[in-house]
């Protein structure tokens, strides 16, 4: 297994800039996620690491070796695609063993490694079955098996769970992460599904328009989003944004929205009079009769343990995730209050977060 180092990687397709300037290091044994909407450059980045695309500029190092312009077959990595193309005329055993057969490995050795792989994936009972009758999950396990059996330096996965339905996808996430914990293989995983990234990754790189907007642990990215884009992309329902126009001095710990003073983490920078955006996660909103920031209940979505209450305010819709036993009625006027220490303030013009006490100290939890 190996470390992957990407330095100032760029890729243009004609006039179109797919990847602007990406630098990151995937540590040995790390589960690294490239996350972003379609067209953000995440798959292109992955394909350059794999050697399926050549960069316009920049450098890729795999386990210390420069591999930027080396052929895919010379990189010792395994690629798992979204659409798991299994050979339909072969059984599971032959499908998993195929890459080894191509490498001219002895039959006894193939047999041993296929069986070991099947054990890791817990599909030993399927080995002699045809692939045509398998469920979606088992097909994906076989596709993974074909990657694992080669014992490559790194795994590259391009939305491998994209074809599965949402509930099953979460089950497979747990399985993939448990598999990673057993193999400790360096993995780069591309997805547009923030939940997949949150549940599996050690480190997430959030990409937008060919640029990495933020790089950090899932917790870091969720709790301290660096930009409006990241804040909006991560979390379901997503972060609430309330626009205001104000100036903030360093040390300030209050922001006024429509005359309501809202406590915020102490600012570490100052900004002059400008358009600002207060970001608050739904789970940090509570209904409070005392608050002067008021609105009308527009929707109530009961989810069992919790409920999402959508409130229309003068500053747009605000969603609150609150315990399901709190009573709220459609059309009711309610006050909203926020958990001060969890709030982010963004500069509207740049979309960047303003540094505050929220950004101090290590990642906790």
């Amino acid at each position: 297994m190996a470390e992957i180092r990407v330095n100032h990687l760029k890729k243009n397709f004609g006039d179109f800039v797919a990847v602007r300037d990406s630098s990151f290091t995937v540590k040995d044994g790390e589960f690294f996620c490239l996350l972003g909407p379609s067209g953000c450059g995440k798959t292109t980045t992955l394909r350059m690491i794999a050697g399926l695309e050549l960069p316009t500029d920049g450098e890729i190092r795999l386990g210390g070796d420069e591999v930027t312009f080396r052929r895919a077959s010379e990189r010792d990595i395994a690629f798992v695609f979204q659409l798991f193309a299994l050979y339909p005329h072969m059984n599971v055993r032959a499908n998993i063993g195929f890459p080894l057969k191509c490498d001219g490995i002895a039959r006894a050795e193939i047999r041993r490694r296929v069986e070991e792989t099947a054990q890791i994936l817990r599909i030993t009972d399927l080995l002699d079955k045809p692939v045509s009758g398998l469920s979606g999950g088992d097909r994906q396990r076989v596709a993974l098996g074909r990657a694992i059996v080669r014992q490559p330096k790194a795994f590259l996965m391009d939305e491998p769970l994209g074809a599965l339905d949402s509930e099953f996808r979460h089950v497979m996430c747990g399985e993939l992460r448990a598999l990673h914990n057993r193999l400790k293989a360096t993995t780069v995983y591309v997805t547009h599904d923030q939940l997949e990234a949150m549940s599996m990754a050690d480190t997430i790189a959030v990409m937008n328009n060919g640029l990495i907007e933020q790089l950090g642990s899932p917790r870091e990215i969720y709790d301290r989003p660096a930009s409006l884009f990241v804040a909006d992309f991560i979390g379901s329902p997503s972060m609430n944004f309330l626009d205001t126009h104000a100036s903030l001095a360093a040390g300030a710990s209050e922001l006024s929205i429509d005359g309501t003073k809202i406590d915020i983490p102490a600012m570490r920078v100052s900004v002059g009079e400008s358009d600002l955006v207060l970001g608050v996660r739904p789970e940090h909103v509570t209904l409070s009769d005392q608050s002067t920031l008021r609105g009308e209940v527009f929707g109530i979505e009961y989810l069992g343990t919790t409920q999402i209450v959508t409130v229309t305010t003068k500053r747009g819709m605000v969603k609150a995730r609150i315990p399901a036993d709190i009573k709220a009625a459609l059309g009711e006027r309610v006050g909203l209050s926020f958990r001060p220490e969890k709030l982010s303030v963004f500069e509207k013009s740049t979309g960047r977060v303003l540094k505050s006490a929220l950004h101090e100290g290590g990642v906790h939890g």
């Binding site: 339905d165 547009h192 949150m198 991560i234 979390g235 929707g299 979505e301 989810l303 069992g304």
Partner: protein, 338 residues
């Protein structure tokens, strides 16, 4: 809008009993969601109401009239499919006007225009009316597909996973829109999904289906908090309800037939503990942002529960689990009420 009454419906395909003895009354203005995994028979049931399938026995009555043998076109139902099938060569406006131009309706052009604009505003595509239908985003196309059903005022709207081809964010937005539209129009809806969030947030009542049978019908709260059996209990809730053998909790006072304890997050008090009194070990804290999933090993059973992101529990911690009025089930998986 009208009441739709299904009684004793049966439908088989060869050996497969797709729908077995289903009776259900869909009240005027109700939003009923049929919930179940693939193959539970929910789409077949929807197609029986639409007239796209014929039942072996049982009846379908729409607005007091027996419609069991009526062809789809005579049933006054509107169907929205998973895949939006719009007329690609027409504009959004023409797509919406199309159902109203049917010769049997003979609607005046002015009335058609008014209706199209009213519904387009309702689903918030009024600024796209002159666009070519296929040049819209996925979410906009599905809005058009839903709007095309809404321009008519049928007895009932039948919807088969209309949001499932959309991405998560869009699905969340359209969900709340759809509920609002249904409330505004007072529409009667029968809606099929395997997505529990859609079922919980949209339905006035949920019908849970299991291998062709309607096993429980009730409000989302009833289905969630008062399920009739293990199957229903495991359909709703994220993370899914945990089932543990009765003997893991020897101190619990339960009826004698109870063999399984069903525990959701709200049925569990979890406290850090020392080795002596511990009943479980934290194996993984899954940070999903707004919520953390706590995976706890309890005598080789994996228990998954929501935890407060600020609880500070981490992998390897010993914890004590205390059930708080959990759900009880017997050997056959049926609910035992305490």
């Amino acid at each position: 809008m009208a009441e739709v009454v299904l009684s004793g419906l049966h439908k088989s395909f060869g050996q497969t009993k797709a729908v077995q003895d289903v009776s259900l009354t869909i009240g005027d203005g109700e939003f009923i969601v049929l919930l179940g995994p693939t193959g539970a028979g929910k789409t077949t049931l929807l197609r029986l109401v639409a007239g796209l399938e014929q039942p072996e026995s049982g009846t379908v009555a729409i607005g007091g009239q027996d419609a069991t043998a009526a062809p789809p076109s005579d049933r006054d139902v509107a169907f929205v499919f998973q895949q939006y099938s719009l007329y690609p060569h027409l504009t959004v406006y023409e797509n919406l006007a199309f159902p109203l131009r049917s010769p049997i309706r003979a609607m005046k052009e002015a009335d058609i225009d008014a209706k199209v604009r009213e519904i387009a505003a309702l689903v918030r595509i009024d600024d796209k009316l002159q666009n070519q239908a296929t040049l819209l985003s996925g979410g906009q196309m599905q809005r058009v597909a839903i709007a095309r059903a809404l321009v008519r005022s049928p007895s009932i709207y039948l919807m088969d996973e209309p949001l499932s081809s959309l991405d998560a964010k869009l699905r969340g937005d359209l969900r709340i829109e759809l509920k609002r539209i249904q409330t505004v129009l007072g529409a009667t809806v029968l809606y099929v999904t395997h997505d529990q969030i859609e079922a919980m947030t949209l339905a006035t009542r949920i019908g849970v289906m299991d291998r062709g049978r309607l096993v429980q019908v009730g409000t989302p709260r009833e289905i969630y908090s008062d399920p009739v059996n293990r199957y229903v209990a495991s359909r709703l809730g994220m993370p899914a309800i945990n089932f543990l053998p009765r003997m893991i909790f020897p101190d619990l006072d339960t009826p004698s037939s109870v063999t399984t304890i069903g525990l959701r997050t709200e049925h569990l008090k979890i406290a850090p503990s020392d080795a002596g009194s511990a009943s479980g070990t934290v194996t993984w804290v899954e940070h999903l942002g707004d919520q953390d999933y706590l995976h706890i090993d309890v005598q080789n059973h994996d228990v998954v529960t929501l935890s407060d992101p600020d609880s500070g529990l981490k992998t390897g911690d010993l914890v004590r689990l205390m059930p708080v009025s959990p759900l009880y089930f017997d050997d056959a998986g049926n609910r035992v009420r305490a």
